[in-house]
């Protein structure tokens, strides 16, 4: 039990580390590149498509392999999302997220991975993003 708990914590830290490396190496912590991808009618920068492609191929094959196991190594079961309905919060949330993403060129992963560069914009973006995340629950009740 203690072993499982330790394994779970270390694997979360290491997975996060690999994830952050991926963000920085792929160029996604560069907001110019991300806005360049979203700028379809300007100087379009396809970099983000290569990142998504690389991630999707590895995750598609890797998930198939690990989900064959009866349980994860350090947990009693797989926690897969069970919701399948395409509801209003999904549409509204995705639209709001897309607009915010376009305004700055940051989505949550790259913003967190970019914290160490110490830019004022990043240091301001992350706490306002957290405020937005915390507001989502009360606002979801109104939709």
């Amino acid at each position: 039990m203690v072993k499982q708990q330790t394994g779970k914590l270390i694997s979360a830290l290491v997975s996060g580390l690999v994830f952050g490396l991926g963000m920085a190496i792929s160029g996604m912590t560069n907001t110019d590149r991300v806005q360049g991808f979203l700028d379809l009618f300007g100087q379009w920068d396809p970099t983000l498509a290569f990142v998504m492609g690389g991630g999707l191929v590895v995750a598609f094959i890797g998930y198939k392999l690990v989900l064959k196991n009866p349980t994860p190594l350090f947990a009693d079961s797989f926690s897969l999302p069970t919701k399948t309905v395409i509801d209003k919060p999904l549409w509204i949330g995705a639209i709001l997220f897309g607009v915010g993403w376009g305004l700055v060129g940051y989505c949550p992963g790259p913003a967190i991975a970019g914290l160490s560069y110490g830019y004022t914009a990043t240091l301001l973006f992350v706490p306002t993003m957290i405020a937005g995340l915390l507001l989502a629950k009360p606002i979801a009740k109104l939709i």
């Binding site: 996060g16 792929s26 700028d39 509204i92 949330g93 060129g105 973006f125």
Partner: protein
């Protein structure tokens, strides 16, 4: 190395991280969900989320320490845009249950219809937003 090659390698690492989280902990590697849960879940279920986020910060820092080429330029957006963008990204990913990692990589690779709809929608909204920002308002905001 050409940045398209680095993009595929970096993207592959995002996939590796997603597969590790699933195979080891049985969890989706979605940053918005993990970040939100690190503050709102019962205390016993917070530490792994906090450690994942710490890992993302450290992983993001390492390449720039090895080569200055990996340090990106400062974001262009001004203060008001950053605040608006941060709030919208937080609120939107909270309401929509995921972001580019959770829906875009983890969900789409599981062929989840919700994730495919969400990813198509936030990309379309991002295209429209940058079009308006750069070609209608001409970056005068």
């Amino acid at each position: 190395m050409h940045h398209f090659v680095l993009a595929v390698i970096g993207g592959g690492l995002l996939g590796v991280a997603a597969v590790m989280m699933m195979g080891l902990n049985g969890r989706i590697a979605g940053v918005s969900g993990i970040l939100s849960g690190s503050m709102t879940q019962p205390s016993g279920d917070r530490l792994w989320r906090i450690l994942f986020i710490v890992g993302v910060v450290l992983g993001g820092a390492i390449p720039a320490l090895i080569s200055a080429d990996f340090k990106p330029p400062e974001p262009q957006a001004g203060t008001m845009l950053v605040i608006a963008g941060g709030l919208l990204v937080g609120l939107g990913t909270g309401l929509g249950s995921g972001c580019t990692s959770g829906h875009g990589i983890c969900g789409m690779s599981r062929l989840s219809l919700r994730s495919i709809v969400a990813t198509g929608t936030f990309m379309a909204a991002g295209f429209v937003c940058v079009y308006v920002l750069r070609h209608v308002l001409l970056n005068n905001v």
